[in-house]
C-alpha cells in the first residue's frame, strides 16, 4: 500500500504545472452560464487542447495523452490549484465520451471525440423530462422510425449547458409498447437542428445554466444512435454510474477549494468559532482524495459511487456555507467569488440522482437492507 508517485508521474505533474502557470488566465473568465462567458470558456478549451491538456486520459488518436487514472488525478489537482477555469466541456468529456468508449463505434469516436476535446462541439445532456426526474424510467419523449434514422418528439428539461451548447445526448422511447426501462434508445442530436426549440431556464441566480428542449420531428440519422435501439437504459446506467463516480468531481477541485477556505479564514482573523468547520473542510478534501485513490486502486463498485456522490455533494455545500458564514453580512453579495460556487454547490444533492435515491441505493446494495416502498 503506498501513496507515492513514480518519477514519470512527478514529471507529468511538473509539466502540467508549468503549462498551467503559463496559460491560465490571470483574471477569472466571466461565468460560463452567460453567452460571453460561454464563448470565453470555449476558447479556453481550445487553448487547453492545443497544449495537449484537454483530455489527458484519452488515447492519443483522439487528442489525449493515454494517461492513467493516477495521472488524471494529478492533472486535476494541478488544474484546480492553478485556479484554472471551469470546464464547459464537462458534459461531453465526463458523460458522453465514456459512453462512446464503452458502447460507440469507431466511426462515432473518430467523428465526435476530437471536436469535443477541442471545444469545437460543446455537449449538453438531455436526460430529464418534466415527469421523469429521479424516476428516469418514466421517460416519455419518443423517437419514431423513419428512413435511415429516427424522428424525435417530446419535451426534455434541466438540460445543463443547453442554452449555449451545440449538441445534446439522451434517452428516447423507441418502442412505445415496452414499459419503463425497456424500449429506450440512446441518441445524439443537434441543438440547432430543425424542429428543436431551446428555452433557457434561469437558475436561482438568474443565469441560464440549463434549458428546456421542445422537440418536434427532429431527424437523427442512424449513425447518431449509440448501441442498439432498445439498449438505451443499460447504456445510460453505465454512464450515470460514471456520472456519480470519479469523473464528475475530481478531488483536485476540493483540495483547492479547502485551501482557499483556509486562506479566507486566516485573512479574516481565524475566528475560533468556525475553526472546526474550516478544519472539517480540510479533512474532507483529504478524505475525498484518499477515497478516490483507493477506488482507483481497487476498482469501484457501482453502489460505492453513490457514497462518492453523497460525499462530494454535501461536502461542497458545507464548504461554501462555511465560507459565507466567515464573510458574515458581506456573504450575501451576488458578485462575491464564493457566491457562484455556493449556487453551483446547491444543485449537487439534486442532480445526477438525488441524494435520497443515493441513500436508498447505499442502504439496499451496500448494506443489504430490504427494499422498502421508498
Amino acid at each position: 500500500m503506498d501513496l507515492t508517485y513514480t518519477g514519470a508521474q512527478q514529471e507529468f505533474r511538473h509539466q502540467a504545472r508549468a503549462w498551467l502557470a503559463a496559460h491560465v488566465p490571470g483574471d477569472p473568465l466571466p461565468s460560463l452560464e452567460t453567452a460571453e462567458g460561454f464563448a470565453a470558456h470555449r476558447a479556453w478549451e481550445a487553448e487547453l487542447h492545443a497544449g495537449g491538456w484537454s483530455v489527458v486520459s484519452w488515447p492519443r488518436r483522439y487528442g489525449g495523452r493515454d494517461a492513467g487514472l493516477t495521472e488524471w488525478l494529478v492533472f486535476e489537482e494541478e488544474y484546480y490549484a492553478a485556479g484554472a477555469p471551469a470546464r464547459v466541456s464537462q458534459n461531453g468529456i465526463g458523460l458522453l465520451a465514456p459512453t462512446l468508449f464503452a458502447h460507440g463505434t469507431e466511426e462515432q469516436r473518430a467523428r465526435i471525440l476530437p471536436p469535443m476535446a477541442g471545444g469545437g462541439t460543446v455537449w449538453a445532456q438531455a436526460w430529464s423530462e418534466p415527469e421523469a426526474g429521479s424516476d428516469l424510467a418514466a421517460l416519455r419523449s419518443r423517437a419514431v422510425r423513419t428512413d435511415g434514422g429516427w424522428l424525435l418528439h417530446g419535451h426534455k428539461t434541466w438540460s445543463s449547458r443547453a442554452a449555449f451548447a451545440d449538441r445534446a445526448f439522451g434517452l428516447f422511447r423507441t418502442d412505445p409498447d415496452a414499459r419503463r426501462h425497456r424500449g429506450l434508445t440512446y441518441l445524439m442530436f443537434g441543438l440547432r437542428a430543425p424542429g428543436v426549440t431551446v428555452r433557457p431556464i434561469g437558475r436561482l441566480d438568474g443565469r441560464p445554466a440549463f434549458a428546456e428542449l421542445f422537440l418536434d420531428g427532429v431527424l437523427v440519422p442512424d449513425e447518431d444512435v449509440i448501441g442498439a435501439p432498445g439498449e438505451g437504459w443499460r447504456i445510460a446506467m453505465s454512464a450515470t454510474g460514471d456520472e456519480r463516480g470519479l469523473t464528475l468531481r475530481s478531488p483536485g477541485r476540493y483540495l483547492a477549494a479547502a485551501d482557499r477556505l483556509v486562506r479566507l479564514w486566516r485573512e479574516r482573523g481565524e475566528d475560533p468559532g468556525l475553526r472546526d468547520r474550516v478544519a472539517d473542510a480540510v479533512i474532507g478534501a483529504r478524505a475525498y482524495r484518499l477515497f478516490t485513490a483507493a477506488a482507483a486502486a481497487g476498482g469501484t463498485a457501482a453502489a460505492e459511487s453513490s457514497l462518492n456522490k453523497l460525499f462530494w455533494s454535501e461536502y461542497d455545500i458545507a464548504l461554501h456555507e462555511t465560507a459565507l458564514d466567515l464573510l458574515g453580512a458581506e456573504g450575501e453579495f451576488a458578485d462575491h467569488a464564493w457566491a457562484e460556487g455556493y449556487t453551483f454547490a446547491l444543485a449537487g444533492p439534486i442532480y445526477a440522482g438525488t441524494n435520497e435515491i443515493q441513500r436508498d441505493i447505499v442502504a439496499e446494495r451496500l448494506l443489504g437492507l430490504p427494499k422498502g416502498r421508498r
Partner: protein, 329 residues
C-alpha cells in the same frame, strides 16, 4: 401570564396576510429586483394604511401607533411570508432611532420625520454594522449614525449599488457628510436601540420566510409523484419536513418573547433561532422540489434566496450567539 397573541393581534396578522395575498406581492418583488420600484411603493402605501410603519412611531406623533414591538413581530412575520421587497425593516428601525432620540431630549428630527414615516409617505434606510444600507439607492432618506463622532446625518447620496444573492435586495454605502440631524452621546445609544428593532423585525421576517417555504413544499410533495407514489409519502421526506416545522415552531415563541422584553440578548436568541430555522427550511424546500426549485422561475425562488441574507443581516449567527452568552448565567 398569558403567552399567546391576542385576538386583535391574530386579526392583524390575518388582515395583512389577506392584503398581501391579494396585492400581487410576488410580482412586486420581481419588479423591485428588476429595478422598477413602483409596484413595491404601491404595496408600501397599502401596508402603511394597515398601520405597519406606524408601529414603531410613538402615539404622540401624528399617525403613530407605537411603540408596539409585538405587533412589529406579527406584521414582519407576514411580510416575510409574502416576500415583501424594500427597506421595510430599515424604515421601522429608523423610526425607532428617531423616537429614542426624542425620548432623550433630541426631538427635532422625530417631529420632522416620524409622521411621514408612519404614513408611508417616506421610506428610510440606514446602514448596519458592516456599513451597507439596504435600498440606499431608492429609499427617500438614508440615516447615518456615526457612533464615534456622536452624529446623526441625512446621507447626501450613496456609492455603487451591489446586488445580493436575493436580487430584491440592493445595497450601497451611504456617502459621507450630509445634513446634521442630531449630535451628542445619545446618538450611539439610539443607534444600538434601532439595531435591536431591526434585528427583531428581521427575525420575524425570517420566521415568515421559513413558514412560506415549508407550506409551499408540503403542498408540492403532496402533488408530485415519482416511482408511483406522492413524494410526500416517503418517510425520509416526511421526517425532513417534520424537522423543518420543529425548528420554526420553537423559534416562534422566542420571537414573541423577545418582542415582549426588547432585551438585546433575547432578540439575538430569537434571531439566531429564526435565521437558522428559515435557512434549514430553504435547504429542505430546494432539495424536495428538486430541479424545479433550483430555478428563478417558480415564485419559490423569492423565499429561497431571501433566507440566507436575512440570517446574516442585522446580526449574523455568531454575533447573535455571542450576545446570548454575554447575557447568560
Amino acid at each position: 401570564m398569558r403567552f399567546r397573541l391576542t385576538d386583535e393581534q391574530r386579526a392583524f396578522a390575518g388582515s395583512l396576510n389577506a392584503l398581501l395575498s391579494a396585492s400581487g406581492t410576488p410580482a412586486a418583488a420581481r419588479s423591485w429586483a428588476a429595478g422598477d420600484t413602483r409596484p413595491g411603493r404601491a404595496l408600501w402605501s397599502r401596508l402603511a394604511e394597515a398601520g405597519v410603519f406606524a408601529l414603531a412611531v410613538p402615539e404622540a406623533y401624528e399617525g403613530g401607533l407605537g411603540p408596539r414591538p409585538v405587533e412589529v413581530a406579527v406584521a414582519f412575520t407576514e411580510l416575510g411570508r409574502h416576500a415583501v421587497p424594500g427597506p421595510v425593516v430599515e424604515t421601522v428601525a429608523a423610526a425607532a432611532l428617531l423616537a429614542r432620540l426624542a425620548e432623550r431630549g433630541l426631538g427635532a428630527p422625530a417631529r420632522r420625520l416620524l409622521p411621514p414615516l408612519a404614513s408611508g409617505a417616506l421610506t428610510a434606510t440606514l446602514p448596519s454594522a458592516h456599513g451597507w444600507a439596504l435600498d440606499a439607492g431608492t429609499a427617500d432618506v438614508t440615516l447615518v449614525a456615526d457612533a464615534a463622532a456622536g452624529e446623526l446625518r441625512l446621507a447626501p447620496g450613496h456609492g455603487p449599488v451591489r446586488t445580493s444573492a436575493d436580487p430584491a435586495r440592493r445595497l450601497a454605502r451611504p456617502s459621507p457628510g450630509g445634513e446634521l440631524l442630531a449630535a451628542g452621546p445619545r446618538v450611539a445609544e439610539a443607534a444600538r436601540y434601532a439595531a435591536d428593532w431591526a434585528a427583531l423585525a428581521t427575525a420575524a421576517q425570517s420566521l415568515g420566510v421559513g413558514y412560506a417555504l415549508l407550506d409551499r413544499t408540503v403542498a408540492y410533495v403532496g402533488l408530485r409523484t415519482q416511482f408511483g407514489a406522492a413524494v410526500g409519502s416517503f418517510q425520509a421526506v416526511k421526517h425532513r419536513l417534520a424537522d423543518t416545522l420543529l425548528g420554526l415552531a420553537f423559534a416562534r415563541p422566542l420571537l414573541h418573547g423577545a418582542a415582549l422584553s426588547l432585551r438585546t440578548a433575547d432578540i439575538a436568541a430569537a434571531k439566531a433561532a429564526a435565521g437558522d430555522a428559515a435557512y434549514a427550511a430553504a435547504r429542505t424546500a430546494l432539495q424536495l422540489h428538486g430541479a424545479v426549485g433550483y430555478t428563478e422561475e417558480l415564485d419559490l425562488a423569492l423565499w429561497l434566496r431571501k433566507a440566507r441574507p436575512l440570517r446574516a443581516a442585522w446580526g449574523d449567527p455568531a454575533w447573535c450567539r455571542a450576545q446570548v452568552l454575554a447575557d447568560a448565567g
